[in-house]
Amino acid sequence: MIEKKGRALLLGDGPVITASAAVGGKKEGEGPLGASFDLIVKDPYAGEKTWEKAECLLQKKAVTLAINKAGRSPTEVELLFSGDLINQCTPSCYAAVGLGIPSVGLFGACSTAAEGLALAALLLEAGACDRAVSVTSSHFCTAERQFRTPLAYGGQRAPTAQWTVTGSGAFLLERQGSGPRVRGALLGKPVDMGISDVTNMGAAMAPAACDTLAAFFRDSGKTPDDFDLILTGDLGSVGHRIVQEQLGQEGISLDDRYQDCGLLVYDSARQDTHAGGSGCGCSAVVLAGHILREMAKGSLKNVLLAGTGALMSPMSLQQGESIVGIAHLVWISAE
């Protein structure tokens, strides 16, 4: 049963995340969450000829690892939700070939992990399928060459710039089974506050995160105190501060329980990642690895993830458009 309360969608018991898998690159493995990855692929090419193929391989590995963990085979999965940052989501397309699972390609920029989880959970709850996988990936090298400059180009990064996570996180959701449940979702509104600085994505996405979180607390009847951890996807240090301050002004105090996946995944001072991590893989690997492990241990019961995305392309920016932010929310509960 899906209960609609304003924009908040509450899912009764909700579908179960029976397994998840996090695959990361070398830098992610060296980060504070290194031990929470199921697999670290140190070679940026992952033994492939191009970075795009490498990203595709990361995604494929994450999907098969998650399915295998639950003791299932791909033929038992009825729907695949996948997405990434690259033009036309080709890494996701090629990763889906050969799995034999009907698949839905998604683009929500870096919010895609939460978007896929929300959609998979809603379709499961509505009875459209019994088993679905949601996966997203990003790769530092594929993102740099598409959105910024060639890797070997000698430039300096702004202090507000973020570092695209190389990695992929996959989730297997089932109607029955054991594990934490997706208990709620809220799909975000695109918000454009006129920020066009591509080196300050956190500031561009923060208003969308504020809108989504405020709407969830207003409509669901829940308060921040009902959660052990409230996460945004990849706002980094600037966006994290904006959300904390702006929601505080609206009377929603998130306090210490508010974290950002982009701040958790790297040690900014040691790893030279400036404002933090970003990318479709950022919130996916943090949730699929670290957070779900903590939930399995019992140290976290109720977690909110507002996956944040910057809906832009190099072309839209060159044409003078500002960056549209979006944030999709999922509530995961181990109670």
Binding site: K49, T50, W51, E52, R145, T149, P150, L151, A152, Y153, G154, G155, Q156, R157, A158, P159, T160, M193, G194, I195, N200, A203, P207, C210, D211, V238, R241, I242, E245, Q246, E250, D272
Partner: protein
């Protein structure tokens, strides 16, 4: 969030850390100066080999372009640039880097549509407007000389 776009932009500026300008400029000054010193050493070397000032100058440029491209190919130039900023961008080695790096990057799209077509994605505008402004300068000079 009750804010206009203008108010939000001002607020973002206030909460975003700024680039450390003084440190950036000091590093650019030292590293850029070092690159020029290396160039000067080559220039003196070529002069001491009995070459004319003009030939030595040309050979120095060629040498520095080669070194810039070599360090780019060895994936060293971008590491130097992370420290040096404008110090590695402005000298001719930076120009070599801006041509060599897309050539390497787009190798995966083939020699024609990759390397060939994308090699000047970074340096292209510099060439176009550099040549255009030199033509404009030449035209102005030509008119002034006939007045």
């Amino acid at each position: 969030m009750e804010m206009t776009k203008k108010q939000y932009k001002d607020y973002v500026k206030q909460v975003s850390p700024a680039s450390p300008l003084v440190a950036d400029m000091a590093r650019a000054f030292v590293s850029g100066g070092l690159i020029c010193t290396v160039g000067q050493v080559f220039s003196l070397l070529y002069r001491s080999m009995g070459l004319s000032q003009q030939t030595a100058g040309t050979l120095t440029s060629v040498t520095m372009i080669f070194l810039g491209a070599l360090l780019t190919a060895l994936n060293v130039y971008d590491d130097l640039a992370r420290f040096s900023g404008a110090g590695t961008v402005i000298p001719i080695t930076g120009f070599a880097n801006s041509v060599a790096s897309p050539a390497m990057e787009f190798r995966s799209e083939g020699l024609i549509l990759g390397v060939g077509a994308k090699m000047f994605t970074v340096a292209g505008p510099v060439l176009v407007y550099g040549i255009l402004s030199s033509a404009a300068y030449g035209l102005i000079l030509w008119i002034l000389q006939r007045m």
